[in-house]
Structures are given as structure tokens and as C-alpha cells.
Amino acid sequence: MSDMARSHIEKTIAPPMGLLAELTHRCPLQCPYCSNPVELERRGDEMTTADWQRILREAAALGVLQVHLSGGEPAARRDLVELVETCAHEGLYSNLITAGVNITPERLAALEAAGLDHVQLSFQGADDEVTEHVSGLRGAFDKKCAFASEVRALGLPLTLNVVLHRANIHQVDDFIALALELGAERLELAHAQYYGWALRNRGALMPQRHEVMTALRAVEAAQTRLKGQLAIDSVVPDYYAHFPKPCMNGWGQQTINITPSGLGLPCHAAQTIPGLEFWSAREHALFDIWHHSPAFNAFRGTDFLPETCQSCDRRDIDHGGCRCQALMMTGDARQMDPVCQHSPWHEEIQTLTLEEASRDEPFAYRRFARGERHA
């Protein structure tokens, strides 16, 4: 590419606001809705502390404002406190996305002292039984409740995050009560998005339409009732929607995702799209990954979308939806998101959704594949 073309790209592409730092794919939980890829990256492939610290410094220089420390379980990394320190030093707002089952009170206090800004704690169920069934970890519910109390005792702001699906959607009111009881300021109730492990488990996770409607009504009622006391963010299940989600607020527009081994992705599911070339933060500066890596430039803007999208008044609202879902359902990542009511595949999605919701499949729990050995 010419210097002039490079310079043009660098001037026209706005810098990212957020960095999703997937520190590790290791996790004590085995949630079947996990958004991580089915092929998990192993500990031996993870980047070093120095790699991550360099990436955080580069992110701050690039214009990132918030860092979401995620995984897997980010606390499975021994250097979590050091990484939070680096965020604070660089002026980055640090958000710890955790399952809350493996952080001792001493370590939490160290994270707080290092400058941690916010904790997002996941709940799989609103009681012991559902939590164990979904997470595959005995005793997880009590540990999470204790962790929430420790977070609040330190004065750290707390958001509870719940992924909703067939096995816990009946507990929406219980999750709201739990958030109040634990003193959370915010509650995110997000329906499962079918990528990675969740896609593999779609037949076990997809709720029935009437369950979705009941849950939405419960959320709306609580939002009104608890205004000013508990903020409730709701993410609707897009298979049941008329229009697609504004996925990532646009490809390569606001967020950059770095995997445990250092790959720079426009979204956590981007590796499902064949033929995309991802650059590694081990070999490339974050600035170059954002501006020049082929994967980030593959679907920037809306020019690649079909004519139906070009003439649609929602083009600049949802950008044609999710590229990964378009590929998954239509075989073409440039198609409109097939959940859209204008998509030729929309009816097919509706049929598929009803079929999946009526299945009675067991969970395929999220696990590392056993290393195959040749005899």
C-alpha cells in the first residue's frame, strides 16, 4: 500500500473506545453458553505480562478509554493485579469481568488498591441448584454471593451479568431480587447469543417464544418500578427479533478484542469467518492492527451490504447486523443479518428457532478438548 493510502486510512478511521482483553481461556466454570471459540487457546499459548502491559500502553496511546479484563476467567492469570495497575497508570478505566469464584478477599483488596474501577460479576442461576447445573461447578452460587458482598464492602461499583436461556429464563424476577439483595447498581440480563459454545448448545439453550415474552414483560415492569435504584439493561434474543442488533456498533468502529495468544479481532466470534487475516499483537503494534489489518478493514462501513440494506433507513442504525451470523446462516458474510425481517432467510430462521426451542438436548459443557495422542 502507498504511503498516501496508509495515511488516508489513518486519518479517516476513528480510534477505538474499548479494548476487550481476553487474558486467558482458562475458567473454573463450564457454561454451555460461553462466547469463547470451541477451540480454546491453551495456557502455553498465552501472552506474557510484559506483552499485555505493552498492549495496554499502546491501547491508551491509540485512544482506548475503557479496558474490559475478561477471559475465560481473568483471575486465572497470576498477574491480574499488575495489569490493573498498568491500566490505572495509563488512565484506562478498568472493568473486571469475572465469575467471582476464585478471588480471595485479599486479592480483591489488592485489585481495588491497584485502581480497579468496576466489577462485572456473572450469575448463571438465581439459586444454588440452577447455578450448579449451568456452570458445572458445585458451590458456585454461595461463592458468588460472598464475592459480591466483598466487592460492595470495598465500595467498588458492581454490575451483575446474567446470560438468559431455557434453563434459567424462568428466574428473571429472582435475578432482579438477587441484584437488589447484593447491592448491585446495575443488572444486565442478556439473552444468549449463538456463537462459539452457545452455537454448539443452541438446541439446549433456545427458549420458547412465550418464555421470552414473559421475561421481557418482567424486565420492563422492574425497570419502571426500580428506576433510580437498580439500572436494568436488557439484551433481547435476536432470533426472535424483527431487526438485527447493531453488532459491535459497527465492525472496527469502537472496540478491539485481543485473544489470550494476542490475535486482534473486530469481535470475539470473528474467527468463524473463513478467509479473514488476523494480525497478532505479538508481531504488530495495536495501531497497525486497528488501521491496517485485513480483518479490521474487511467489513468497515456499509458499502459491502446488499441493495436491500443500501436503501434501508436502518442502514446506519444496525449496519446490516452481525457478519458472523450472516455467514453462519447464509454462507456469505456480506449478506444482511438473516434475523432481519427483510432478509430472504428470515422465515428459515423463524422455523429453525422453533425447532431448536422444542429440542431437549443435554448441555455440551465448555471444556478444553482432550489432547489426542497417537499410538
Binding site: 476513528a14 480510534p15 473506545m17 491509540l62 485512544g63 478509554l65 475503557q66 488512565g91 478505566y93 472493568n95 474501577d117 468496576h118 462485572q120 465500595g155 467498588l156 461499583p157 454490575t159 447498581e185 446495575r186 444486565e188 428506576k227 433510580g228 439500572a231 439493561d233
Partner: protein, 95 residues
Amino acid sequence: MSAGLNDNTVVRLPRGVRMRHDAARGGWVLLAPERIFQLDAIAHAVMSHVDGRQSVSQIVDTLTADYNAERRRIRHDVLALFHALIDRRVLEVVA
């Protein structure tokens, strides 16, 4: 709820909300849990006086002097901004 906001109210940023300069895009932002609020020049001028000690009316007096503007209008703008930010939980009333 921001119903109790009046001239004597003192407000502050709650824990987990920070204001900082955004060099990459220009201007100032409020960083909050899972959200970022971009402040325009007026909002930043108001927020730069929020320190958990000054009352609404003290902030309005300072801004009226600084900008040589009509006090009633500044008071209206300050209250409107504080109401909006309190409703979004990025500003709180000091008890």
C-alpha cells in the same frame, strides 16, 4: 431520583465514574460502568466545578461570573445537566 435537586444541593461523581480528557477524539468524557459519556464544552465547564463541596448555587455564581452571562439561564442549564446525569447514575447527591 433527582427530585430533590435545589440550589443548596451538593453533587459529586459516584465511585466508578471518572472525568478525563480524551486526547484522541478531543474534548472530555465521563467514564462509567460499561458506558462513556462525551461532554460538550458547556457540560465540561459545569462538571469541572463538581467537587463534592460546592453547592449548585455556588457553581452557578462562578459560571455566571466566568461567562458574564445571565444567571437565571446558567442556573437552568446546570440543573438540567445535573438532572440528566443523576438519572443516568453518573452523578449523585451528597447526603
